[in-house]
Amino acid sequence: MTAALTADRQRLADPSRQSPGAIIFMAFRFLRQLNIFQIAVPFYLFISGRLSLEFLGLGALALVLWLAAAVVKWWRYVFWIEGDELKVARGVFSLERTAIPLDRVQSVSIEQQVLHRLVNLVRVSVDTAGSSSAELVLDAVSRDSAEALQRLAADFQASRVVTTTGAEAGEEPGTSQHVPPPPSRVLVKRTPLELVKVGLARWPLAGLVVLGPLVAAGADIAETFAEQLGGFLPDGLVVEEELDSLSTSAIVGLLLLVVAVAALLGWTLQVLRSILTDWNLTVTQTAEGLRRDAGLVSRRSHASKTRRIQSVDWQQSPVERLLGISRLRLQIIGEGDLVVPGADEADVSTLNAIAFGGATSDSPPPDRGVSSAMVFLAVRNAAFAMVASVLGLVVLSRLSPEIDWRWWMVTPLLIVPLQLASSWWRWRNLRWGANSGRIVRTERFVGRHRVEMENIKAQMVSVTESPFQRRRSLASVTVSTPEGGMSVPMLANDEAGDLRDLVLAGIESDSRAWM
């Protein structure tokens, strides 16, 4: 064991509490457990003045008790390293002791939110194989302690006990030695300029979705404001009259201007978001697997074992393609996926090689298609819906004298050829491939999408047949993993059976751990 690891062990050997700052986080965690009703009713009673002085006194008492409970909880929560286990003792009335063997720790994530930054503390989440969410969360500890814990867990992940024969080194047979973990290696590092590119490549109007409610509320406020100021407004400011007086081309121009301003605002927000969330994004290959650090205001460090990666999801929009970047998502069990925006070809290749490092087979070529019945189904459904809606309009115009028949009422039918074109394009570019080790599915519509997984990650395989598929001897195959999975639609029955058997053989013949 190195001197650094010995120092880490010594640092964590004595039972210690979290930082007093954790009291605030523990108190807030209790608040988060309350439902909206439990918070909203007292708040409403308070602001509507319906609470008597006695109730206010009770409220103040509850507040004091709440803070006192958080303090006691913090006082009674200690953690330490004993032997090869991380131990935690907690509880006020009933004592709860937890021992997590360090070799069972899958990942240790360190996160620093805004509040943490003010007091220079971090939040630590410890994941184990037995849970899909964090097994243990330390709300606020010093960065040194957190990193010591991360290093110790990493050492256990990487170092393996090797039983020597004693023949070469002259050691006693049967003795064990630790093999030191490989050194960390930075795989991806994003510069601010690359983050700007990532922000610009995102769909600009997506960022405006969050502004929707604000705009809606803003309209209400403006209306109320206008009503109150109605007497003072000059007649020329009545919007409806202004719009009526505009020509069609002016209205189109105005709409285009609104869209342009919205897009500009959207892009600005996306760039800001990209910089705030992914500032100084670094993906490091560590002894335990991969670690992703990013964030400007709230900095998050997420480390995970390579084995926990379930599938690799790669996406590229047309703009991203133009800029030579893409978005890679390593789907991981537990506390979130490892997302790498702005990934170039080298990044994709490196991360793929790591994600599939232990794979027993090469990536299968996605050279197989699905049945063209997929196009027929999509067009048939669209045609039914559109013809029904046009017939509905015809009936309405006949029944109601207020609705006149207009030529543009047949325009919904235009969706049918559009659906034909889009589903044909989608079908042509939906490809999949499988071998004894892996399964891959690629799509190309507006953007490109590729999902690849190892067969041993599959938990269950399902073959489904709808009545439409059964009439055509078709079926769909769904391969489930803890993080979603993959589905291949519209395969010939035999092919679906072959794919199922291939995936099952992959699972059942490979005794490597899937996680």
Binding site: T360, A434, M460, S462, S466, D498, L504, D510
Partner: protein
């Protein structure tokens, strides 16, 4: 372009004999064998569920039809004050719907079945939308047997197999068979978990 045949998967029994490598992911080998050595999931070899399951479903539909008839009759005559022929028509509609559901349930119960192979468990269900789920024993996290009051009355049980990525609800098993299947699944899953641990050294 006609698609090529899928690559030959390895036989489970063949691949299991490969010596454990160390470290497990570095020198792992996965030998290929002839495709006819791979056991196929045979659609004709599904074991049907217990006949009592169809009876239970019919009993439930019968119960619903009685409740529905009484409800329609009482609401139609006493609350809405409808004419007797209208109420009789409504009751007939309810009974016809229940009959259709009963026929559907009977067909579904007849189609349901399970298949146990040495490495996995499959369950087939559905009449209109058909589905076959297969869960390898190596992925079973835990197995639970549930017996509701109606199931107990008919001597049935439901075996619930859970994995990290989905679960399999095997309904319509008689009590004895559900116990035996659960024991088998747990034993196989345990043996495979031990094997996996040995593989990891």
């Amino acid at each position: 372009m006609a698609p090529q045949a899928l690559p030959t998967p390895p036989s489970p029994s063949e691949a299991m004999t490969v010596a454990p490598a160390s470290p497990p992911t570095a020198a792992f080998t996965n030998q290929r064998v002839a495709p006819d050595q791979l056991p196929r999931l045979d659609p004709g070899s599904f074991e049907p569920v217990a006949p009592a399951f169809a009876r239970m479903r019919l009993f439930m539909v019968g119960l619903s039809s009685v409740v529905g008839t009484v409800l329609v009759g009482v609401v139609g005559l006493a609350v809405l004050d409808l004419a007797l022929p209208v109420v009789i028509t409504a009751v007939a509609a309810v009974l016809a719907a229940c009959l259709a559901i009963a026929l559907f349930q009977r067909a579904e119960a007849r189609r349901m079945g399970y298949q146990v192979r040495s490495h996995d468990f499959s369950f087939r269900r559905g009449v209109v939308w058909r589905r076959v789920d297969t869960m390898p024993f190596a992925r079973v996290q835990h197995a639970v047997i549930r017996r509701g009051p109606v199931e107990r009355f008919f001597g049935l049980a439901t075996l619930h197999l859970r994995s990290a990525g989905g679960s399999l609800l095997v309904t319509g098993l008689d009590t004895d068979r559900s116990d035996r299947l659960k024991t088998l699944v747990v034993e196989r899953a345990g043996a495979l978990a031990d094997e996996e641990l040995m593989e990891q050294g």
